[in-house]
Structures are given as structure tokens and as C-alpha cells.
Amino acid sequence: MHLDDVLTELVEQSGDRLLRVAYQLTHDAAAAQDLVQEALLRVYRSVRHRGLAPEDWYAYLRRAVVNEYVRTRRLRSSTEIVTDVVPERPAAGCLEDRAADQAELWVALGALSERQRAVLVLRYYEGLADHEIAILLGCREATVRSLASRGLAAMRPLVAAVSAEEEQT
């Protein structure tokens, strides 16, 4: 078996899951693929250099993806790709449409800071406990709770506004 076969195997085994996590982080399919690719190649080179292999490849690669996301997102903020597609907002009077609420929530998730978003994705999408997230992000558990709390707080006014308008309709 060639090493490249191993890398291929890893992609086939974990690629879809990693890409879904990356998409939750980036909200952009191309960026998600770039993110996973960067993380994979980074891990590939690192493991080659050190000669050690982790026991849980998925967890190891997921950690690489999340940290690559947090690391590079700030760097990319000055070179964001401009697009003429803007997120659609629900029209007035259509707030009973649950899809519109979900779209608002998705947009609100995208507006969070990279660390807040990473914590919420790991907590509510990956189902990790706060202490696991802390290990993954390399921070204290209290920091994870704080990031989650601030992220949820940033989203609550939106949900409250939507609920209030739903009650009026």
C-alpha cells in the first residue's frame, strides 16, 4: 500500500464528515473544501515529519480543520472574495414561513466570530462536550462556555424579534 493510498483512504473514510463540519464553519462550499484540503495536507506533512500517527484519525483531522479555520479566517478577512449574491432576507409578512427563520438563523451563525462559531458547531453539530471542545481548541473549559454564551447571546435578539413578529401575525 502506498502512502497516497492511505491519504485517499482517509478522505474516503472521513472526507464527507470533515467537509460537512468545514461547511458549517465557512458557510461556503469552495472555502470548506479548501479548508479540509489545507488541513489534510498539513496533517499529512506533519505526520510524515514526526513519524507518529494518531489513534483517532477523524478527531485528529477535525481538530486540524477547526484550528485551520480559526487560524486562517482572520488572515482572509482582508481578501474576502466579493460576490454579488447577498443572503436573502424574509420579506415582511412572510415570517410565519419557518424556512425564512432558518435562513435568518443561518445568516446569524455566519456573522459570529470564528471562535464563537467554532464552539457552536462543535457543540450543536458535532455534539461535543465543553471539555472536549476545550481540548480541541486548546483553551480552558470556561473559555468555551463564555464563547458559547456570547454567541448565543448575539443570536437571541434575532430569535426574539422573529418570535415577536410571529405572535403578531
Binding site: L3, L7, E9, H27, A29, L40, L105
Partner: protein, 353 residues
């Protein structure tokens, strides 16, 4: 768990289907081609991988990622295939592209030699006298319906920008910044910035390769007609010539010309498809240096020759010879001091057969 937390989990799960697939990633990794392994980490990595679930029947045979022959369109990662769309605004002063080449080696050529599968032109109209030269709004877009092979063959031969800055006129007027988005089978894509303005002095760029070649007028034609225009034949009477070719920075006449057109004083012109190799040799024998894009008059006889070397594809190379000026010879990227060894060869070629 609060309702908000429930909703977040549901919304996240609802977007699962939008994520790219592992197959897309494999294709991209194939292009990224990580280096081959060295002994020392291969064994532990393999042991660990053996613990992981084995996916049988992989179509990606051993060695393919690391040893695959590169296609003409290759290099960096290939993004997920999706339609090209015009940025809402032209974010910076020209030339600017919204993204660097993806899945394409953009450093050696302005565009690949391969014909793209589709081409989109985005136009941003403004003025070269406007105070604000960035942030121009999208004024129009057009997908090309023809001439894509022509586009590739013309743009792929555009020359690198010279090291020395070009001297430009300063005519004020309307300016259109264009973005040409090219998408290739397999997902590779590239954006090219081109500008049409009165001085024809704004470089073209793909974000990694910047060219002094003038393509703005051709893009304007393509934007108006929906087809990339065929190249225009060389003429001594035309004021605008689409000249300048990749390779002219290393040789006065790059390899492979198939004809030469000599424009001489007193409206003497001659086009030759054979027997001009002596001229090519004479020009390429001259000691050269990077062009300073100018010359100073010297005492003695004067005269101007323009010599166009044409190629099967792409723009011609224009070698200008100004007898009585120093330096006397230039092709836009290189210059040579003396024309004394070249002018007799030209005169010989101008004689009727």
C-alpha cells in the same frame, strides 16, 4: 437545552446537503499532489491506517496522487464546480482579480493554453480621471458564446510585464475595467483583469502573472458581440497593433516565427514566409539588456523600421529599429544598442526577388 439551541442544531443539520463531497476533495488533492513519502514515517502511518476502516475497491490506484502526470491545467487546488458569477464591485484599482487561479498554474502564463469550457465577462465602467479608482459597481456581464479557443490562443501568449515601468500618455476619458472568468472542465478556474482606456496602459493580470499585453479593446469587442474576436492580421498601416509575446523578454525574436512583415521608410513593406532566418539570427545575436522604453537621438542618418514576426498562434513580436537613435533596437522588453549589423540584412530582404 433552550429552543434557540434546538433551532441551531436543526438549522445546521438542514444545511448538510450543501457541503462538498469527498469525491470533490479527492479530485482537488489529486491536483495538489503532496510530495512522495520518505522511509521513516511510512510504516507507522500505515499501521495507524490499518486500524482505520479500509475502503475497498478504490478507483484511486497507488501512486496516483503523488505521481500523476500533470495536465495542462493543473497546480493548486481545484474548487468545487459552480457557476462563475461577477463580483458586485471592482474592489481595487486595476488590475485586480477577485481570486487567484484555482487548479491552474497561473504564474507562468496569463491563461492556460487549454481552451476553457466557459467564459464570463464582467464590466465595471468608470473614468480614468475619477477620484475614486476602486469600488466601481458592476455595469454589465456577458457569457461568451464563441471564440473560446481564440481567446485561449491569444491570451496565453501575452508577455510578462517588463521590469521597467512603461511610459504612458495621460489622456483622460472613459475607462472600463473587465474581469474575464474562465472555467475549465474538471473545475479549474481563473480570473483575468483587463482594462480598456484611452492610453492602453493598464496591465492585465490573473493575480499571479501580470502582462503588459493590451487586451482591453479585444475584451470590449467580445463584450459587445458575445464572441472573442479573431486576431487581426499584421498591417503596416494600422495605428493599433496587438503586439507583444511571451518569450520576448529573453530573446529579441522568440522561437518559432512563421512569417515576417517589414515596414520600412517611404511606405515600403514586405511580408516573407521564408528566407528571413538571417534576420532572426542577426537580431538574436545582438547583445541585449532590459528595455528602458526610450532612446536618445544621435548625429548621422536616421530611419525607422518596424518588423513584425508572426507566429501560428498568439500575437506577433514587434521589433522597432530607429536608426540614428540610441539604443536603436527594441522589442518592448529588450533593447540593443546598434542596428549596424541588422539594417543591411533588412535592406537585402526588401529587395525584390
Amino acid at each position: 437545552m433552550s429552543k434557540l439551541e434546538d433551532d441551531i442544531g436543526r438549522v445546521m443539520a438542514g444545511h448538510d446537503g450543501e457541503a462538498p463531497r469527498a469525491a470533490d476533495l479527492l479530485r482537488a488533492l489529486e491536483q495538489a499532489s503532496p510530495p512522495r513519502h520518505r522511509p521513516g514515517w511510512y510504516i507507522p502511518f500505515m499501521v495507524a491506517a490499518a486500524v482505520a476502516a479500509v475502503v475497498a475497491g478504490s478507483v484511486w490506484a497507488g501512486g496516483q496522487l503523488g505521481g500523476r502526470k500533470q495536465s495542462p491545467v493543473s497546480g493548486a487546488a481545484i474548487p468545487v464546480q459552480r457557476p462563475l458569477s461577477c463580483p458586485a464591485s471592482y474592489a481595487h484599482q486595476a488590475p485586480w482579480v477577485p481570486a487567484k487561479p484555482a487548479g491552474i498554474d497561473g504564474r507562468s502564463r496569463l491563461v492556460p493554453q487549454t481552451t476553457p469550457g466557459s467564459a464570463l465577462i464582467c464590466a465595471y465602467r468608470g473614468s480614468n480621471t475619477a477620484k475614486q479608482q476602486a469600488g466601481w459597481a458592476l455595469s454589465g456581464r456577458r457569457s461568451l458564446v464563441g471564440g473560446l479557443a481564440s481567446l485561449a490562443s491569444q491570451l496565453t501568449w501575452k508577455p510578462h510585464s517588463p521590469r521597467q515601468p512603461l511610459a504612458c500618455t495621460a489622456v483622460g476619458g472613459p475607462q472600463t475595467n473587465y474581469l474575464i472568468g474562465l472555467a475549465y472542465p474538471g473545475g479549474a478556474r481563473i480570473w483575468i483583469a483587463a482594462t480598456d482606456e484611452p492610453n492602453q496602459c493598464v496591465a492585465s493580470s490573473n493575480g499571479e502573472f501580470t502582462s503588459s499585453g493590451i487586451i482591453g479593446p479585444a475584451v470590449s469587442k467580445a463584450f459587445a458581440s458575445g464572441r472573442w474576436p479573431a486576431r487581426t492580421p499584421v498591417s503596416c498601416n494600422r495605428s493599433y497593433q496587438d503586439t507583444g509575446r511571451l518569450g520576448q523578454g529573453t530573446a529579441m525574436v522568440p522561437a518559432g516565427p512563421t512569417s515576417v512583415t517589414i515596414c520600412a521608410p517611404n511606405a515600403r513593406t514586405r511580408t516573407l514566409t521564408s528566407g528571413y532566418q538571417t534576420l532572426v539570427s542577426a537580431l538574436n545575436r545582438l547583445p541585449t539588456r532590459p528595455s528602458t522604453h526610450g532612446c536618445s537621438g544621435t548625429p548621422g542618418p536616421s530611419g525607422a523600421y518596424e518588423i513584425f514576426f508572426s507566429f501560428p498562434e498568439g500575437p506577433p513580436v514587434l521589433v522597432s529599429i530607429l536608426v540614428g537613435c540610441h539604443p536603436a533596437i527594441g522589442n518592448g522588453d529588450l533593447q540593443a544598442t546598434s542596428a549596424s549589423s541588422v539594417v543591411p540584412v533588412i535592406r537585402q530582404l526588401l529587395k525584390p526577388a
